[in-house]
């Protein structure tokens, strides 16, 4: 605390007026550099490292300048002038734009294949007015898809490819508002609040910000927490003094109604987010941070009710799903497997993939370690203890959900506002001398680079080409209704339309014997299941095949003998034959008109 007082005195010296000018100039140069980058980055340079590999020296310089400007702003710009928060907001927008806006602007078609499926669900709800779980069990949580259909359908059929592109950038900016509202109740120092937002931006590599129900539910859940800590604050009496704790319960009915509406929306939108909201609110209640003592019961009741009614099709007959057992390629995964899939499994790659995997685990561990150090140092401060509890509680849920490989990521994401606050408390104890500012600027720049690699690296299968998308649109437009479409893997732009009319299957969801999809019998098992399924159309993309290898442990190069089998033994007819996509038809009655596939020139 002494160090903080000293640094405040240091910051109030007259030469700090110049720091606002310096930060402004650095921001201007960084913006100029990024604009130049957008016109000079060659998208073909993107490799396993993601967009970081295509970044030009100018891009890196602009990231470093933006980082430097942010550090100068947070540590040096006077708080009593008008410029502090203006510069902080400028810095946050610039950092988010460099990290997430570059792919948004440059990708020929927006990533990510899951987002296309969500567009398909929205289109299905819009077209049919139904939410049939026979189409997909995810329609058990149809709230967000219904919302998407309502919002996108205000002017005709949904046209959401543009929304897929801009959604991550908009989400990554807007989420900073509820995060700020939450941490402002724990932290009074404005520099620490600003630093929290910076850490949140450079720590957010989780890729849970795409067009999805979980992104909508995350925003609503964080707003719930923000409303509770701001509008129903407790007096700090924890559960240890049970009698007094219970006496201090209550809250305005308007607030309770509003919170119940928000929580009900998350319950209808996404299976996991209400559980995380429940955990966070429970911590706030137990520690006396809110007077809404019974509100966790409201969340639990809403969650349990919908799980018993609407979500029954998700777990009915598969009770293991609720206990953390996840199915993959016909094999059951328990908690240890999920952790292995998230951590050790991700590190078992070679070359640049290994670099990306290490950067992801490393970035997460750096943030968690700094948060832990901050929590230990500030353990006598009650607020820091509560922040640490809030940061810890989402990970407890890892073993209680059937969420599979994303569970740890979701836990990290829900903990991120609080780990960021703990890291910020630690960082802002540093005296803002010139050397410290320069070093911190380099560190923030390096962490920003790590975030770029972690967020956009490795998953080449996440990328989607504009030609691939155009060909898939042509396919859906021309293929006869009720066709069976089989993909080499889920990582392709499919199911964005005509869900429920055409049936889509994926080889990575085939069932395998105990040896799994890399076993000696795997190739024959795939062929047998293709024969049994008897698809009308098969779609191959290199990304889909790579996805099955990377995530579902198919053997490398498994797709080549299968393609040969489809073309030679099953006499498939190549409708589209390109290096980036092949469409094989087995429906002899389907004759696409000439020019139906507009980009099938090579």
């Amino acid at each position: 605390m002494t160090a903080i007082v000293e640094s405040e005195e240091l910051r109030s010296s007259p030469d700090h007026d110049r720091s606002a000018n310096l930060a402004g100039v650095l921001f201007g140069l960084a913006l100029l550099g990024w604009i130049i980058s957008v016109f000079t980055i060659d998208i073909h340079d993107v490799n396993e490292l993601g967009f970081a590999a295509a970044f030009t020296p100018v891009t890196w310089v602009s990231l470093l300048l933006a980082s430097g400007a942010v550090v100068v702003t947070v540590l040096r710009v006077p708080l009593d002038g008008p410029w502090f928060w203006r510069l902080v907001v400028t810095g946050l927008v610039l950092l988010v734009t460099i990290i997430h806006g570059t792919p948004m602007v440059l990708e020929s078609a927006p990533r990510f294949f899951e987002a296309y499926q969500h567009v398909g669900f929205i289109e299905y709800v819009s077209r049919t007015g139904q939410h049939s779980i026979a189409v997909n069990f995810r329609l058990s949580w149809f709230g967000a898809f219904g919302l998407g259909a309502t919002l996108s359908g205000t002017a005709g059929p949904p046209a959401l490819f543009g929304a897929i592109r801009v959604f991550p950038w908009i989400f990554d900016l807007l989420i900073l508002l509820p995060v700020y509202s939450i941490i402002s109740k724990f932290i009074t120092d404005q520099r620490t609040r600003a630093a929290t937002l910076v850490v949140f931006v450079i720590g957010n590599w989780i890729a849970q910000d795409y067009l999805s129900p979980q992104a909508v539910a995350y925003f609503i859940a964080m707003t719930v927490v923000a409303l509770i800590v701001n509008l129903a604050p407790g007096d700090g009496t924890s559960i240890r003094s049970v009698k007094r704790w219970w006496e201090l319960r209550g809250g305005a009915s308007v607030l309770l109604i509003t919170l119940t509406v928000l929580v009900s929306a998350t319950v209808l939108a996404h299976q996991l987010s209400p559980v995380m909201a429940f955990a966070l609110v429970l911590v706030l209640v137990m520690t006396g941070w809110t007077t809404l003592r019974v509100f966790p019961l409201v969340i639990f009741a809403a969650f349990a009710t919908w799980l018993s009614v609407g979500g029954y099709y998700f777990w009915g007959g598969k009770i293991g799903r609720l206990l953390g057992v996840h199915q993959q390629s016909g094999q059951s995964l328990g908690l240890s497997s999920i952790i292995a899939q998230n951590l050790t499994g991700r590190l078992q790659h070679g070359g640049l993939e290994q670099v990306v995997a290490v950067s992801r685990v490393g970035l997460s561990l750096i943030i968690l370690a700094l948060a832990a150090i901050s929590a230990i140092r500030g353990r006598k401060d009650r607020n820091i203890r509560v922040l640490a509890l809030l940061a810890f509680i989402p990970f407890l849920l890892l073993g209680t959900t059937g969420y599979g490989g994303e569970a740890l990521l979701r836990g990290f994401f829900f903990a991120l506002p609080f780990t960021s606050a703990l890291v910020a408390i630690l960082v802002t104890r540093i005296r803002p001398r010139m050397l410290a500012i320069v070093l911190l600027s380099v560190v923030v720049g390096c962490l920003g680079a790590l975030t770029e690699v972690s967020r956009y690296g490795n998953e080449k299968f996440e990328r989607i080409g504009a030609d691939q998308l155009a060909i898939m649109q042509d396919l859906y437009r021309t293929v006869p209704p009720h066709s069976k479409i089989l993909g080499f893997g889920t990582s392709m732009p499919v199911n964005f339309t005509k869900i429920g009319t055409d049936l889509t299957y994926f080889m990575n969801f085939f069932k395998f014997s105990s040896a799994g999809p890399s076993g000696p019998q795997a190739e024959q098992e795939i062929k047998t299941q293709i024969d049994t399924l008897s698809p009308d159309v098969v779609v191959w993309t290199p990304e889909a095949a790579a996805f099955s290898t990377h995530t579902f442990h198919f053997r490398a190069g498994w797709d080549r003998p299968i393609l040969k089998y489809l073309l030679k033994d099953r006499h498939g007819h190549l409708i589209v034959n390109r290096p980036d996509i092949k469409i094989i038809s087995f429906d002899r009655s389907w004759h696409p008109p000439a020019g139906a596939f507009s980009t099938n020139g090579d």
Binding site: T188, A226, P233, I425
Partner: protein, 130 residues
């Protein structure tokens, strides 16, 4: 650096003297936004732009009722309330219509907008009588 929770910071349930005026302003804002969204729908502009304006105005209008009822807050909390409130209203009404098998995007959008304006109107009347 850190603060203790203080019940006095947020006067939940307290009604500031200007509440009636504020509710009226929010109601007029909601009506204006809704009118703008409907107007753009009939203008000869690209469909994507119509969708964007329609979606933004619908979320904003349906997120105003909680703002009108809750005590005045800083902008960093008001904007999340509006967005989360608007999204939640959209989720709940779409879900309700889907459950009763009466869903269509137009129906859901109109119902959400009208319900939000009705709530704002009720709030204006109530606040006006205080």
């Amino acid at each position: 650096m850190v603060t203790s929770p203080d019940r006095n910071e947020s006067p939940v349930g307290d009604v500031a003297p200007e509440t009636g005026e504020r509710a009226k302003r929010l109601f007029l804002l909601g009506c204006g936004l809704a009118a703008f969204g409907v107007l753009v729908h009939f203008l000869p502009v690209p469909t994507n732009l119509k969708s964007l304006v329609g979606a933004v105005t619908l979320v904003w209008v349906s997120g105003l009722p909680p703002v009108s009822w809750l005590p005045r807050q800083r902008i960093d909390l008001t904007i999340p309330i509006v967005i989360a409130g608007g999204l939640s209203a959209g989720v709940l009404i779409a879900s309700l219509l889907l459950i009763v098998d009466w869903y269509s995007p137009d129906r859901a959008a109109v119902l959400t907008g009208i319900l939000a304006l009705a709530l704002l109107f009720v709030r204006t009347r109530k606040a006006g009588h205080r």
